[in-house]
């Protein structure tokens, strides 16, 4: 059975979008705008990570910002230690530690003297935490609404801890006054095209990595799990393991996005692990289309873009939040697959009805089954 060239055209579209994004600095020579766009791209990456777990595996992570924030803090810790001695007190301690009367660099800060360690930790810490949380939740067969609530609660716990441990984390203020990210002597200026390229490049890689996963049989099984988790078990697949896998990959991508965010924002803050950001990610993905990686990403770019354009006026921004809330509710109600789903539907209609052709060839066959969701019997 030959599969139609749907995948090929999809790859072409994804590549085109990535190239377009990478070309932006050639036509735009405004450092401030480039920095702003790089930030939007980071959010796009965060949206891709949520689309992977929510759209494909049905795991609604209401705490996606948790792993994002952890990545961001790992990067900030490494970059903070690079500022020695400018923004440090005596003994090479970060300034906020000195203010909080810490006399010795805590043990978990020490390895962050190595930037490579910081980068690795920025991905591995989120992955490890997600794997642990995933094991706890999915092995226990907690699903749906309850799993979503757990992700939300877990995030707030981590955020509270970071705020509470001010001596080691900078508390409410986060970690500020960072060095520039530097690889082999090349410094990435947050307001230069280099950082933009770094973010855009990472985004392209992540997008294709995610596409690769969704196109593999593992991706197919994840979709089957989303559809009917119980049924998948009886084919011999370890459902919990599949969910832990996608949950962790999603966390790793979010962690990477968090690191990039620190690079372009030049600080890390506990708001990066906050409920408002998590809600925003869910909104972007829902509006763009949870079952389309590209749709979710574009959703993030468009929503944050409009938000950024309106941010000059407080009233505009507040009204915008209200409009976003409304839009979100409407999308949830009427467009469960978001704008990408709507677009696909329209495209499919054009495809299927060439001029003069008989319409309605796609009408469902006789009596589709009302509900096959539950496996029969006692549950």
């Amino acid at each position: 059975m030959k599969v139609p060239g749907k995948t090929t055209s999809q790859i072409a579209i994804y590549a085109a979008v990535c190239i377009a994004i990478l070309l932006v600095p050639l036509v735009l020579d405004d450092a401030f705008l480039l920095n702003k766009y790089a930030r939007y791209l980071v959010f796009g990456m965060l949206a891709v990570s949520l689309s992977l777990s929510w759209g494909y595996a049905g795991i609604l992570n209401l705490g996606q910002a948790m792993t994002f924030g952890l990545g961001s803090y790992c990067m900030a810790m490494a970059l903070k230690l690079k500022t020695i001695p400018v923004h440090t007190g005596s003994d090479g301690l970060p300034d906020f530690m000195v203010w909080n009367n810490v006399t010795e660099l805590p043990w978990f800060w020490i390895p962050f003297h190595s930037l490579a360690f910081g980068v690795a930790a920025g991905i591995l810490v989120p992955v490890a935490l997600a794997a642990l949380l995933g094991w706890f939740v999915f092995k226990g067969r907690v699903t749906g609404v309850y799993a979503a609530i757990i992700t939300l609660a877990a995030m707030v716990v981590v955020q509270l801890l970071i705020i509470d441990q001010q001596r080691f984390t900078g508390g409410f203020n986060g970690i500020t006054d960072l060095a520039q990210f530097e690889v082999a002597g090349f410094a990435f200026d947050a307001y230069g095209s280099s950082s933009y390229y770094l973010v855009a490049g990472c985004l392209a890689v992540t997008l294709f990595l995610a596409l690769f996963i969704t196109k593999s049989k593992t991706g197919l099984i994840l979709q089957a799990i989303r559809d009917q988790e119980d049924r998948v078990r009886f084919f011999g697949y370890d459902v919990a393991l599949y969910k832990i896998f996608v949950f962790s990959v999603s966390a790793g991508i979010a962690g990477l996005a968090g690191m990039l965010y620190t690079i372009v924002m030049e600080f890390a803050s506990p708001t990066f692990l906050g409920v408002p950001l998590s809600l925003s990610v869910v909104i972007w993905v829902a509006v763009g289309g949870r079952q389309s990686l590209l749709g979710a990403m574009l959703g993030a770019l468009v929503v944050t873009g409009v938000q950024g354009a309106l941010s000059e006026s407080e009233t505009f921004l507040e009204t915008w939040t209200l409009v976003m809330g409304l839009l979100f509710v409407l999308v949830v109600l009427f467009l469960p697959k978001g704008l990408a789903g709507a677009f696909e539907k329209i495209a499919a209609r054009f495809e299927r009805t060439p001029p003069g052709a008989v319409a309605e060839s796609t009408a469902p066959r006789s009596e589709p089954i009302k509900s096959g969701r539950e496996i029969e019997g006692v549950s």
């Binding site: 059975m1 593999s216 197919l220 559809d227 078990r233 697949y237 370890d238 089954i369 029969e376």
Partner: protein, 254 residues
């Protein structure tokens, strides 16, 4: 009869109770390798629950289940499936949001690992096998159709095809012909005939015509217990069986 060692599936005094109600009570059942066993009984006899116990959907409260000599009742569902047991559910249970092709691809689960499947794509594997299966159940023209758009009978067959893709040694079928037309039922009977010998089948069925067509040995359950076991002729003349079915309109209309 055959020696004990040939028994592939053994349920040994298996019992399960739901908050005090004994759905299956001390059920002992032995199925030989390659056999086609029909499980019948009036409504509420515990047939579906018996299948649930074997595939791990429901857990035993007492007793033991052995498959190919190994106790399996403590294994998780996916491990039971990997041991070689496939299950078709009463309400046809397929992945409605996915295409027929994708459904079959998932059914083809000889390689269940996450990472192993990460480097498998729909293009390069299983294609021939899947086409063959689709043809077997008459869905070759619908490979791209979303499973939600299939008719009831087609959905039943898709699930049967999924089980065949899984290729388990033991297949548990829960009312495979429910909702099928007479024509479709006949075709299913032919299909089961071909599976005989290669797979062990345990079929729960209400359609006595169908049972007559396919059965070698019939097991009758009543109120969670084993009532009788034997050939179709023995069962149909068994007084206890007649009594059990009394009130539900006779054995043919259970």
């Amino acid at each position: 009869m055959s020696p004990v060692t040939e028994d592939q599936l053994i349920m040994d005094r298996a019992s399960v109770s739901f908050s005090g109600f004994l759905a299956v009570s001390e059920l002992t059942l032995r199925v030989r390798k390659g056999e086609l066993r029909c499980l019948i009984g009036p409504n509420g006899a515990g047939k579906t629950t018996a299948l649930d116990l074997v595939c791990g959907k429901t857990r035993l409260t007492a007793g033991e289940i052995r498959f190919e000599g190994r106790p399996i009742h403590h294994l998780s569902e996916h491990r039971i499936a990997r041991a070689g047991i496939g299950r078709k559910f009463q309400v046809p249970s397929v992945f409605r949001e996915l295409s027929v092709w994708d459904n079959l691809h998932i059914g083809h689960s000889q390689q269940p690992g996450v990472l192993a499947n990460l480097i498998r794509f729909r293009r390069n594997i299983d294609a021939e096998d899947i086409s063959r299966l689709a043809e077997l159940v008459g869905l070759q023209a619908d490979l791209k159709t979303q499973a939600a758009h299939l008719s009831h009978g087609q959905t039943q067959w898709l699930e049967i095809a999924l089980i065949l893709a899984q290729d388990p040694a033991l297949i548990l079928m829960d009312e495979p012909t429910a909702g099928m037309t007479a024509q479709e039922t006949k075709k299913t009977a032919q299909l089961f005939d071909r599976l005989r010998g290669r797979h062990t089948l345990v079929v729960v069925e209400h359609d006595m015509g169908f049972v007559r067509d396919i059965a070698e040995t019939i097991t009758v359950m009543h109120q969670g217990k084993l009532l009788a076991e034997g050939t179709i002729a023995q069962i149909e003349t068994n007084q206890q069986v007649r009594d059990a079915y009394l009130g539900s309109g006779g054995i043919g209309h259970a």
